[in-house]
């Protein structure tokens, strides 16, 4: 009885997190915001759902390792695929809603920022070359 409650809670929590992740994928404004929903929320929901499935098959007397394999694989590959998608988006110069940070907002070292190439015009947006 207790384990049925735990399994039902795992299924409900997992599928709710999957739905929240897809809702974030649909609703956010920007690709770089949209990347967070599937990467964090959907992966966590899949972990909860697969743990519930493992408990169900243990309580049914047919334990198997496939759910744990899928859980580990998803938790390992979600950051890697998100990193690759972000690299592809930066390569394609995908439009970002928020402005990039101003040059004077990041002068933690004022003596280098004073002779930097961007100190002459503070309104100029930083290009890709400034960061490298």
């Amino acid at each position: 009885m207790i384990i049925e409650i735990v399994i039902a809670l795992g299924i409900v929590a997992g599928t709710s997190l999957v739905l929240i992740g897809s809702l974030g994928l649909m609703r956010f404004d920007d690709l770089y915001c949209r990347l967070h929903g599937p990467t964090a929320s959907t992966t966590l929901g899949m972990g909860s759902l697969l743990i519930a499935s493992t408990l169900h098959f243990i309580s049914a007397g047919d334990p198997s390792l496939h759910e744990l394999v899928v859980t580990g694989f998803l938790f390992l590959t979600a950051p890697a695929s998100a990193h690759m998608v972000a690299k592809a988006a930066l390569h394609l110069r995908v439009h970002s809603v928020t402005r990039p940070p101003r040059p004077e907002a990041q002068d933690a070292f004022p003596e280098t920022a004073a002779r930097g190439p961007s100190s002459s015009d503070p309104d100029r947006l930083p290009t890709l070359r400034d960061d490298c």
């Binding site: 599928t15 739905l19 899949m46 759902l49 047919d62 496939h66 890697a80 390569h91």
Partner: protein, 89 residues
């Protein structure tokens, strides 16, 4: 109790599949479509897990493992093709 949770789960995963399909069709850029297809196969794995619990049959997890591996490889291959122009260089 598990039956009611499974009913809720089927509904939620189906709605999230539709949301991902919207982003695949209407995504303004190519990386949007890559992210949406990535989320779509993860939602497919969730649906397979729910079907496996519902039918009390563990043979569906074999296909879940295969979908997880092939989906990751296809996402990385598409991103490599966008970045480099080739996949294996």
């Amino acid at each position: 109790m598990i039956a009611a949770a499974l009913l809720f789960g089927f509904g939620a995963v189906s709605v999230s599949l539709l949301l991902c399909l919207y982003r695949v069709i209407a995504g303004p850029d190519l990386p949007d479509r890559i992210v949406a297809l990535d989320t779509l196969y993860i939602n497919g794995i969730a649906l397979l897990v729910l079907v496996g619990i519902s039918f009390n049959d563990s043979v569906y997890f074999e296909s879940a493992v295969l979908i997880a591996m092939m989906g990751f490889v296809s996402t990385v291959a598409w991103c490599k093709h966008v970045i480099r122009g080739t996949i294996i260089d």
